[in-house]
Homo-oligomer: 351 residues x 2
């Protein structure tokens, strides 16, 4: 898959749950790749990663490691991005950052290609990949917004543990087995590793993702609210969010309630628009019990939408059920897709 | 616990998940019990049930079995209730029915004692126990409605499998173990046993509870919409619902968004009202990561409420997170509580 006429791509955080999927997504990207560099913490440096039959030695992520890099995909935590993304950009790399470090920075485009690809033209070296739960929601809602207007979103999420990393998947697995064995459990990771209290995730639901803010919303909820307005470039859309962690390894689901601007829209209109929308697969046939589910979404790049129906009491109110692989469209795939868009739009060019 | 001056109580469906909890709830009820009769299908007749150290032989549920019964608690499925509840009522018993058979019948009170106990005065022999997900929601919202008015509810549920019976708990357990062992699974019960397709519930989310209706809503969703309006005796409240089955054995959670009538209400006002409300326990302290969770609700009679916060964009919009044991307040406890209310209000009297 290497291409002499391609780019030198770096993946920062290559050993993590998202980093691994970034490497997977790079295997069949349209982005031409000349060389691939894997970067991680000092602790992981020296380990090797298999990539297309080749063993790549992981290097330590330090400023000098970005010399000669064209595109750097970051997914190694916010503090790493804050420190090293500007260093990478200074050395000429375009950074696509999957952390929350720069998302609300007004000089940083926050991009879901199906929604606001054109914002990439404004980049100043760093481009932010939105939060996983935001990406799948705006990908499903943008075609509706474009055709019928959108003035309100009320979303409740059903989020998988892999959003909290590989250690959280391991915790779900171990805890599930211990509870099935009727053994004692000792939660240590979820809901937030650095928070004081940790709770049972197996066979439970935890209404906390990321840390609580002063306004009693979690940071995850505020991400959904603020990022949606930024990506859709409309501060007037009212967004309300409740984010919940569930005993699911991978695949986020969302119960999304919307109010459109137009008064004469039917649920069939929404289905038609979504059946033609890029990156969206409509799975909506109640009579045959067809609707999206997290287990079916794993490993797929699309956003799946179903259960579309009008509010019996509100003419312009509609329900949707939106599911996607949180590690792919919610993270790794959207990042690689941004790199592909940069090439397509002529922003990233071969030197 | 038997009392010579008490009532003759029958439990119909005594071997089921809810029936078992009805017997548990009868162990420490204030309802005086003279005699307890356990009824079930022909298949279960002859088996014995331990109750307070006594072995009770299960009898077949036939019309004649209700001779001399004062109160009959039904939880053996809608078709059994449709056939036998009128027979029991005809013989002088007051029926408290936990199925959906009579809930929307205008001659049948649909009662959550904390909300509309007075409706019991209108009974004509049959009283309906509402759907589990409806009960916990209206118990949490009624104190708010009474003080601040309530014009809109948008709810997304996170429902445990025990709502689909003991076989569904067994399916969740077996499937979880098989998936942990990386073995093949064969779903046979959920989402709806009598439907054509069955799906993985372990480590997944199924956006279908009960059968689909012609309007693309599930029956569970329509129950929440219609029953809420009937219990609150207000057809103007707009209710929108999405119901989702999750890999949780017991304990339903709900992300509830409301709009109150008054414009000057704060989230502190809601917390104060709920902290004083009957049958409700406030668990709301984000700074200390205090919020309700299904695993903590198991075996408890109360409805737990937390994550109360105002919508940043809508002055009279608020979020709540409502959790309760679906087999207790959602079913068995609410049924027994109705019986206690009947005595308290002087409707059920010793002969």
């Amino acid at each position: 898959m290497y291409n002499d006429q391609g780019f030198h791509v770096a993946v920062v955080g290559a050993t993590g749950a998202v980093g691994q999927q970034m490497l997977n997504m790079l295997k069949d990207t349209t982005l031409p790749i000349r060389e691939l560099t894997c970067l991680a913490s000092k602790r992981s440096a020296g380990q090797t990663i298999d990539f297309e039959g080749e063993k790549i030695v992981i290097k330590e992520a330090v400023p000098e490691a970005f010399e000669g890099i064209d595109v750097a995909l970051f997914s190694a935590g916010g503090s790493v991005s804050k420190e090293l993304a500007p260093e990478a950009a200074k050395r000429g790399a375009i950074v696509i950052d999957n952390t929350s470090a720069f998302r609300m920075d007004e000089n940083v485009p926050l991009v879901v290609p199906e929604v606001n690809e054109q914002a990439l033209f404004d980049h100043q070296g760093i481009i932010a990949n939105p939060n996983c739960s935001t990406i799948q929601m705006v990908a499903a809602l943008e075609p509706i917004r474009k055709n019928f207007g959108l003035n309100r979103i009320i979303v409740s999420t059903y989020q998988a543990v892999s959003g909290a990393g590989a250690v959280a998947i391991e915790e779900l697995r171990n805890q599930s087995q211990q509870l099935l064995n009727e053994e004692a459990i000792k939660p240590e990771i979820l809901p937030v590793k650095s928070d004081e209290k940790h709770y049972q995730i197996a066979f439970n639901a935890i209404p906390q993702i990321d840390k609580f803010q002063d306004n009693d919303y979690t940071f995850e909820e505020m991400k959904m609210i603020n990022e949606t307005k930024k990506i859709m470039d409309d501060s007037n859309i009212r967004v309300a969010a409740t984010c919940v962690r569930l005993p699911i390894a991978t695949g986020h689901a969302e119960s999304v309630y919307i109010e459109v601007d137009k008064d004469d829209v039917s649920s069939e209109d929404l289905k038609k628009i979504l059946s033609e929308a890029p990156g969206v697969t409509l799975q909506d046939d109640p009579a045959n019990q067809i609707y999206p589910m997290p287990a079916d979404s794993v490993g797929k790049k699309d956003v799946f939408v179903g259960r579309i129906r009008r509010d019996p009491d509100i003419k312009n109110g509609f329900h949707l059920w939106v599911v996607s692989d949180n590690l792919l469209k919610g993270a790794a795939w959207n990042s690689v897709q941004i790199a592909e868009s940069l090439v397509k739009l002529g922003i990233l060019k071969l030197k």
